[in-house]
């Protein structure tokens, strides 16, 4: 009987002593952590996508708390509402940014851009791009293996089986930029979403000279410069046989869309009975 009592006493005493030691050590070596880190993390979307440039939401919260302002820390997924909450917690001024969206700058559908050879290799854009220029005459355009689709954590990109091109679901796209990094041809870009989602962009990245580009793809930008001459706001520049529309200067008049001979300039989300040209992106 006494054995049991002694055992209970010793174990209890040992437990109390070790608890005291642990308490003292914990108090002595306590790591001071800013409680705001947890608060900031709590309001983050929690996608851990890395779109902000940090390893995840926790890493972003740590960086945001340390930084003197929020100029260089912006969560594209949460956008302005989340950043307002973060700013409120940290007592900083919220940085408002125009919402962005991923834009696919290629209109080389199966009809526009006929295949000139058959790719029999591993189905990955990265692998395909390392091997050759692609199975169509255009060495700049979409390779169609869907690296962007697998890179997207939000299910916002899917391949359209009819056109063979990726389609961005604007309601799901968070502009984290994962698809931009995944695309070896740099076709996908982050662009300003525009007022009510209205925007005009050149849906082509082909830098070949006009006849070469046209031969490879019916919808290619041939660098003719008609849009540059037509634009009343001076928003369009032409370099390397490719037009580029400056978002800041564009007033969405869509005159360029009407004059583009190949239909390379696309207008998105405009009301249906728009000008009578090509289908939307």
């Amino acid at each position: 009987m006494s054995t049991i009592i002694w055992t209970v006493v010793i174990i209890t005493a040992l437990g109390l002593i070790l608890a005291a030691v642990l308490y003292l050590v914990a108090a002595k070596f306590k790591v001071e952590e800013d409680p705001r880190i947890d608060e900031v993390e709590a309001v983050m979307p929690g996608a851990n996508c890395g779109g902000c440039g940090f390893a995840g939401c926790r890493a972003f919260a740590e960086a945001a708390v340390k930084a003197p302002n929020l100029d260089h820390n912006y969560c594209p997924v949460g956008g302005n509402p989340v950043m307002r909450k973060v700013a409120a917690i940290l007592g900083y001024e919220a940085v408002e940014k125009a919402p962005m969206v991923a834009v696919v700058r290629c209109n080389g559908t199966c009809d526009n851009r006929p295949k000139i050879n058959e790719y029999g290799g591993y189905e990955s854009c990265k692998v395909k791009a390392a091997l050759y220029s692609g199975d169509t005459g255009c060495s700049f355009g979409c390779l169609g293996c869907g690296d962007c689709v697998s890179a997207c954590q939000f299910g916002a990109i899917s391949m359209n089986p009819e056109t063979g091109l990726p389609v961005v679901d604007e309601s799901k796209c968070t502009a984290c930029g994962a698809c931009v990094k995944a695309c070896p041809k740099s076709i996908i870009q982050l662009r300003n979403k525009g007022p009510k989602g209205l925007r005009v962009f050149v849906s082509c990245v082909n830098k070949d000279k006009g006849p070469v580009a046209r031969k490879a793809c019916k919808a290619a930008c041939i660098g003719c410069g008609l849009c540059v001459k037509t634009c009343p706001h001076g928003a369009i520049e032409l370099s390397d046989n490719l037009a580029y529309i400056d978002y800041e200067k564009c007033r969405l008049c869509r005159k360029c869309v009407a004059v583009c001979p190949t239909g390379a300039i696309h207008d998105v989300n405009f009301p249906k009975p728009a000008t009578k040209e090509e289908p939307k992106a």
Binding site: N117, G120, G121, Y122, V127, A130, L131, S133, G134, S139
Partner: protein, 454 residues
């Protein structure tokens, strides 16, 4: 007794169906397209203008950097255009288009077949001639030869190895060169040997080419009687195994020395040159003839016009195919190079380069990719890898983008020989994925070295 490298390797079916075809000279095409990026390193800069008359062998582009080479006109005629043109892979390359008019050679080039065995003692003159002749490694890597022949200070070359293995299936152009131009190859070898200041040179030939071994032994025996320049050159028979002709594998097989990860052959005292390069050195030094033509094997089980042809650099592939009987109906894929390391051609109108070694036609059955299944950890890829890597692991790491672990597992040592892919029973596209990871890791290593404080 044949020797071979110590780890890995495979033995694919040899299929050297064009081995009996003599090298025949193809007539010059009506137009040639000479790319300025025909070698490793900086592309050459064009030194001719549109409308200029050029002669065969006249330089049309000068080196664009230290590691770069001269490029010569392979025909005589008029420069039609200088601009971007799609290469074998369909990418734009700056290309000089020359319309052929007659065949007038530039002054000073000896176009006769006479064998000249005596060469100058002045190594500077020789290296200059090699540089001006635009000689690059014709085994495929196309590294400028004059750079390779000047070892960095402090490094001593002990042995020259002439690579006549031709371990890729189907290819026979080096074999035919050894048979038909053995004397020239031997003189070229002696020249390189003298430049490097080594006593020993070995011409390594796989034992599936006994005729070539016998011919080179006979040639060297005859030449050794005439001059002391040829003493110390021997012929070594190698086991027929792929990739016996890989630079590091060949050094291992001949000298039993291993080049360390990230090292160069010169670190273990070796310099390896291809048979075709030795021939090009002979022509550049003895005949003042720059690299303007190369022998190409045109072959394939479905191609009846089997041939080894000598074509001018810049000949459109479609012209070669048409002059040998046209595109075979059953062929679905044309490969530039051998079946293991060659690249499929996306653009048949593209022109040959200095480093083009073969055109191979494959049928649908031969190119079929089998269904990929799960890795069963059998380790065959590891057994096959001649660099001692673990392809299955690299594949896994590459898929999870673990760059640090990839570097720790030496993905940068991969020679892209394809043994892993060949041996995989689960048909996993190991090489496709490893190649991408290797490029990524090499890019990071390069950026790191550039940022290092000096």
């Amino acid at each position: 007794m044949s020797s071979t490298f110590s780890i890995g390797g495979i033995h694919p079916k040899e299929n050297k169906i064009s081995r009996e075809c003599h090298i025949k000279v193809l007539p010059t095409p009506p137009t040639v397209y000479i790319s300025v990026a025909q070698h490793i390193g900086a592309p050459a800069k064009p030194i001719v203008a549109v409308g200029d008359k050029v002669k065969t062998g006249q330089p049309v582009a000068e080196p664009g950097g230290f590691v770069s080479a001269f490029i010569h006109s392979s025909v005589s005629g008029t420069v039609k255009s200088i601009g971007p043109r799609k290469d074998l892979a369909g990418n734009n390359q700056l290309t000089i288009e020359i319309a052929v008019e007659g065949d007038e050679w530039a002054d000073g080039i000896d176009t006769t077949d006479t064998l000249i065995t005596d060469f100058t003692n002045d190594n500077k003159v020789i290296i200059d001639k090699i540089r001006l002749g635009g000689v690059v490694g014709l085994g495929g890597a196309t590294f400028p030869t004059h750079v390779k022949l000047c070892p960095p200070p402090g490094k001593k070359c002990e042995m020259l190895i002439i690579n006549g293995c031709e371990c890729e299936p189907y290819l026979t152009s080096d074999f035919r060169t050894l048979l038909e131009k053995g004397e020239q190859v031997a003189v070229g070898t002696a020249i390189i040997k003298q430049v490097l200041g080594v006593d020993k040179a070995v011409i390594a030939i796989e034992d599936n080419k006994p005729e070539a071994i016998a011919n080179m032994k006979k040639v060297l025996g005859n030449l050794a009687k005439t001059s002391s320049n040829f003493s110390g050159i021997s012929v070594k028979s190698m086991v027929s195994k792929y990739p016996e002709g890989g630079e590091k594998q060949l050094i291992d097989a001949v000298m039993h020395r291993q080049v360390k990860s990230g090292g160069l052959p010169i670190d273990v005292g070796a310099v390896v040159q291809n048979v075709a390069t030795a021939l090009a050195v002979y022509e550049a030094v003895q005949k003042n003839k720059p690299v303007i033509e190369n022998s190409i094997t045109v072959t394939g089980d479905c191609f009846p016009g089997q041939a080894n042809v000598l074509v001018r650099v810049g000949t459109p592939l479609s012209y070669i195919i048409d002059s040998l009987g046209g595109f075979p109906a059953e062929a679905v894929k044309v490969i530039s190079g051998g079946p293991m390391m060659g690249k499929a051609i996306a653009n048949p109108d593209a022109a040959t380069l200095k480093g083009t070694s073969a055109l191979l036609f494959l049928t649908a059955a031969q190119t079929e990719r089998k269904q990929e299944t799960q890795c069963i950890r059998c380790g065959r890829c590891e057994d096959a890898c001649p660099m001692g890597l673990e392809p299955f692991l690299l594949n896994k790491l590459a898929k999870s983008d673990d760059i640090e672990a990839l570097e720790a597992n030496a993905v940068q040592d991969c020679i892209e020989c394809g043994c892993c892919l060949y041996s995989c029973p689960a048909n996993i596209p190991l090489l496709d994925i490893i190649r991408i990871a290797k490029a990524q890791v090499l890019g990071i290593i390069k950026a790191r070295n550039n940022n290092k404080p000096r």
